[in-house]
Amino acid sequence: MTPVSSKLYADDVSLLMVLIDTNPYFWSSMNNNTSFTFSKFLSHVLAFLNSILLLNQMNQVVVIASGYNSCDYVFDSSTSSMQRAECLLEKLEDFVDKDESLSREESVDGVGFSLLSGSLSMALCYIQRVFRSGPLHPQPRILCLHGSPDGPGQYVAVMNSIFSAQRSMVPIDSCAIGSQHSAFLQQASYITGGVYLKPQVSDGLFQYLSTVFATDLHSRGFLQLPRPVGVDFRASCFCHKNTIDMGYICSVCLSIFCKHHKKCSTCGSNFGEARKQDPSASDQRR
């Protein structure tokens, strides 16, 4: 990395962390059901990344792939300067091959989910390193280009990442490229003050990316960005990893369960005695 202190940063210099979804099961379902293939997606994303780097010569782009079995950095504009596209595509191909070789399951029900929590955590570590590099640094933001359904098992990890991003004031923008909305990404963008967008027409992805997600954080104040279409605040129960909108909360540890249990599986509290001592509490249970 060029020593950060030697550069002069204005408030419109961006560090864009792009998380791309490379889940092969998702892309094969997109292949079968729509005309929007992975290679089309990549050509849109590459054009977008190039335009970000052209907007300001000090802008920096880092790409992290969230795969089905692993996550990895595939591109960093501060280390690889020439032939961006070739460099990115080469690393991405290596990553996809490696990701596939890690697969242990023969068949997957449905599309499966990609490891969003892993790539989010890595992006946040990278951003912290940029923060540590000195008082002058580009303004970081995260853009999730995500299509796979949410993995309910990642609920706690994704929420932890969201809160850490919020504390460091890093907005998480998200663009849902699949057929469904993503509750994780809706919450991530809502909590961190980012933009959530689900494009109506996937073939026009570049247009959506360049009009909504290309502007730096400072200039966003002057734009009419898409308003949230509502936020899905459903949580995952700890017992079956189901997504629920109503459930039982352990008063000792706040674990969420989808049905009534006698004992909390997280903290071991027994819920029996409460009924005798506190009639108002048992009313609530009905």
Binding site: G230, V252, L254
Partner: protein, 415 residues
Amino acid sequence: MNNEEKRFNQEEEDEEEESGRGREAWERTYADERSWESLQEDESGLLRPIDNKSLSHAQYRRRLRTATAARIQKGLIRYLYIIIDFSRAAAEMDYKPSRMVVVARQVEAFIREFFDQNPLSQIGLVILKDGVAHCLTDLGGSPEAHIKALMGKLGTSGDASLQNGLDLVRDLLNQIPSYGHREVLILYSALSTCDPGDILETIQKCKVSKIRCSVIGLSAELYICKHLCQETGGMYFVALDEPHLKELVLEHAPPPPAIAEFAVANLIKMGFPQRAAEGVISICSCHKEAKVCGGYTCPRCKARICELPTECCICGLTLVSSPHLARSYHHLFPIRPFDDVSPLVLKDFHKLPKNCFGCQLSLLNPGNFPGPQVACPNCKQHFCLDCDIYIHESLHNCPGCESLRNAKTISDMEQ
């Protein structure tokens, strides 16, 4: 270095001579900052600054190890009253600019941290001055409201009455639900208490009401405070200086290990409402008004509500925002402390990863030798020391474990 040492010795002697008399301003800066405490003697007797990065990192990791072991069960729905002593004693200037300002600053930081770590909990503020206790704010969950009220009421006068303060909060805390964890945190500046009756009786009543009382003193240890904390199961410490005070106050932010008899465990039925789209007009059930802004929808009866947390006024379901709950889950599933990579492994450095798995920083020292690094016991990925701190203090996820589907299922099966 030796010269410096001599100079320090001289100053200490000077101070002894002057003790008892009022100190000059230039002397006070030495006495108050205690700059000699940040020096340490090495093997040859030379002085060197303590602030040594790897040493502090080692200390940090030791603390982390004990902390993860201790916090297994905790009463997360806490009802805490902060009693602040703003009597004459709080005007003392041994803390800069005064005890009152320093305490207010630390309480502000504490309130923010408290709500970050205890999402469903509530705080109330009580102030002791002129021999009476004023309830500044009622129990509530909004940090801004408390901070605003506190900053608007700065000023010291009269004596402090510990008994009046305890009586007031005991009445207030007796009204809360039985699953709540009752706590009082007292920031006490005075060296005496000016009470209308027998304070020992009040302390016994607090014990019966299962109120955990903790005191942080600003001047010197008081028997009555120590007795109060011992009887009610709280903690008593006297702060030495502002950083120490900050540390003592923030120690109360993470949930204390719940003592089973203190809070009754309960399963509470709750709903997680969806947030409606911005700009949709609907009539809310709480104010019975048509509103354009985005509200929330009760998942059971579909009534529109303006704010969370609340109780649905149609069906009575307790409604919370699920991210609010999720803020505390890192306490439930703490990630394991990372291991130091032993020098034996480091010798074999050609096999080691060259970059930190989290931030891609090179783990090699100048000269291409492996620098200090740590490894996750679960996924075996290597991290730099800065990522280690960030991962355990703020992120609460191991990036390595989160980016391995198979490793994750293995550790799930072990549990």
